[in-house]
Symmetry: C2
Subunit: 334 residues, 2 copies
């Protein structure tokens, strides 16, 4: 086992411009040793998320990232050495290790993950993506059978699961995604009722055609113009689950928000609710049970997009922000 | 009893400009006669509301107003003739009579109001203003004792009640109002903890000083820059009750909405909820009982602003939109 620890450092913070692979550099560090109550983790799969980019813009639910540090990010990692009784070598955990081969972390915040195959499902359907889709849709969107649910970034890790859960709940489901191929995948493979291509123009008309009865639940992964267009198409007493704003992470902060706020919130009696998956920790077991059941009976298809090699992580994130992935993107480190 | 029926007609719709008294004209109509199932009502007090202006902008929870029609509006009216068994001459009702001396309406949507003195309280604390404050704050804002509640248009009909109910619920209460005199009234007479003058500039700093622990509940009557400033000062898991957007009714529609949406909704896990008082009809009796109790024991002060004369209704609305009223503005017709 080599002692080297490859690390990807966030060399420069993007200054209101788009993130590129050149904002990062690969370095070599020492393999750290765990102290009391700590574990040494070896990274197996790095989770790529639009949130990685959002963290560069300033403090969110975590403090802002700084240049010169190992890039932050979650990963599926294996315990190599443990100074904690509840974790043993070989155990898998999800941890904020950052983009590197090895990390030492306090053990007390880490929980052993169940052994299941493929292990990548621990990062997709049984990881943050699956739980985000589950809680955001069901707890914030509160869809009822027969209602129309629209989800943006529908071909992404979260959106592709949101739409399928909404179908399971008996809703009409419309996905907003970029490009015809993604749209076809949503309808033909995942069972969405319709797809709308935000790159094809006249989103308002497209949405109107796809949602003849208006929108009852909008699951927002993008913010920006898609958010605004959906807002104007909402039905009275509709709900908007605010999950992320990927359209606004990569580049300068938008000068303004969507039109119609707060006017349309009032007249249509909308509820907008923002959430982060950690808020629903107490209901995690129930969610995992539901998700596993749907996967087992074939009603929920898991789509993963695995890139090989730690050194390719920056480009994989840049590509994710450009929408090149389908389903959950992750990097296989070893 | 004269047969004449003075009517104020909305002569022209404002075209993206400010409303003036010249947009209206006074005409004389015939006193109508009630048909089967109808009642003839005589207007006693016309309720003035920012919503009157919003209705001119397009369809809301009611259809848009048209030029040439009697101006729409609610009033406290007295039954003069009745062709319905549940209403008798002399009974008081709240009805959408429009701005005129007499109106004929179907009786089935009208409910007899309790006889109480002063009758004006049926338009203020026991009317739409009081119920809007009650339900918006308690059902949408969900304040907990010790939390900080901010309300905009705090010296208005709804805002002045919102702040007092929040005090009764044990909150720290900050009112946003225009001008020092209104602020002093809020703190000295109504018991608000602090007031912030949006006309005095640097609202962000003022708000920060008045809310050292951030904002947990924001009751929004204004939209616009006050909304945006409060949004940035919200605490995690804060709630925004979206009641109205008076800053945006009188003039051209704003080109954009507030910055920070949906980004801040996500990272702060905010809930924004729009409402209209009619949505809470089923809980009306409980609300009236609570409000009456607080008025009776002196914890809730009722402020009314009564203008005399039907002919002065247009100017009274224009003045309300400019923020010249304190508490509930109404016009005494007879």
């Amino acid at each position: 086992m080599p002692d080297a620890n490859r690390q990807i450092v966030l060399d420069q913070l993007p200054q209101g411009d788009r993130l590129t692979a050149q904002h990062f550099r690969l370095t070599q560090g020492e393999r750290p040793s765990p102290g009391e109550g700590e574990v040494l983790l070896r990274t197996r799969y790095i989770s790529l998320d639009a949130a990685n980019r959002a963290w560069m813009q300033g403090a969110t639910y975590r403090s802002a990232l700084n240049a010169g540090q190992v890039m932050a990010g979650g990963s599926l990692s294996e315990v190599v050495e443990s100074n904690a009784s509840h974790l043993a070598p070989g155990d898998l955990v999800f941890a904020d290790t950052g983009w590197q081969d090895y990390a030492v972390l306090p053990a007390k915040r880490l929980a052993k993950l169940p052994a299941l195959e493929p292990v990548t499902h621990l990062l997709s359907i049984y990881g943050i993506a699956g739980l985000t889709a589950y809680f955001g849709l069901l707890e914030c969107g509160k869809p009822k059978a027969g209602e129309t649910v629209v989800v943006s970034a529908a071909a992404g890790a979260v959106g592709s699961i949101v739409g399928q859960i909404a179908k399971i709940k008996g809703c009409r489901v419309v996905g907003v995604a970029g490009g015809e191929a993604k749209g076809r995948w949503l309808t033909d493979d995942l069972g969405f009722d319709a797809a709308v291509d935000y790159k094809a123009g006249d989103l308002r008309r497209q949405l109107k055609e796809a949602c003849p009865d208006g929108i009852d639940v909008y699951f927002d992964n993008t913010g920006g113009p898609v958010f605004e267009t959906c807002l104007f198409a909402m039905n009275n007493f509709g709900r908007i689950a605010c999950c992320g704003a990927v359209s606004q992470y990569d580049g300068a902060a938008p000068p303004h928000g969507p039109r119609g706020i707060p006017g349309l919130i009032v007249t249509k009696r909308l509820t907008l609710r923002g959430f982060v998956v950690m808020d629903f920790e107490a209901q995690r077991e129930r969610a995992l049970k539901d998700l596993a059941g749907w996967v087992a009976d074939g009603r929920l298809k898991v789509q993963e997009d695995v890139i090989e090699g730690l050194e390719n992580t920056p480009a994989a994130l840049v590509g994710l922000l450009a929408g090149e992935n389908r389903g959950k993107r992750m990097v296989k480190v070893r």
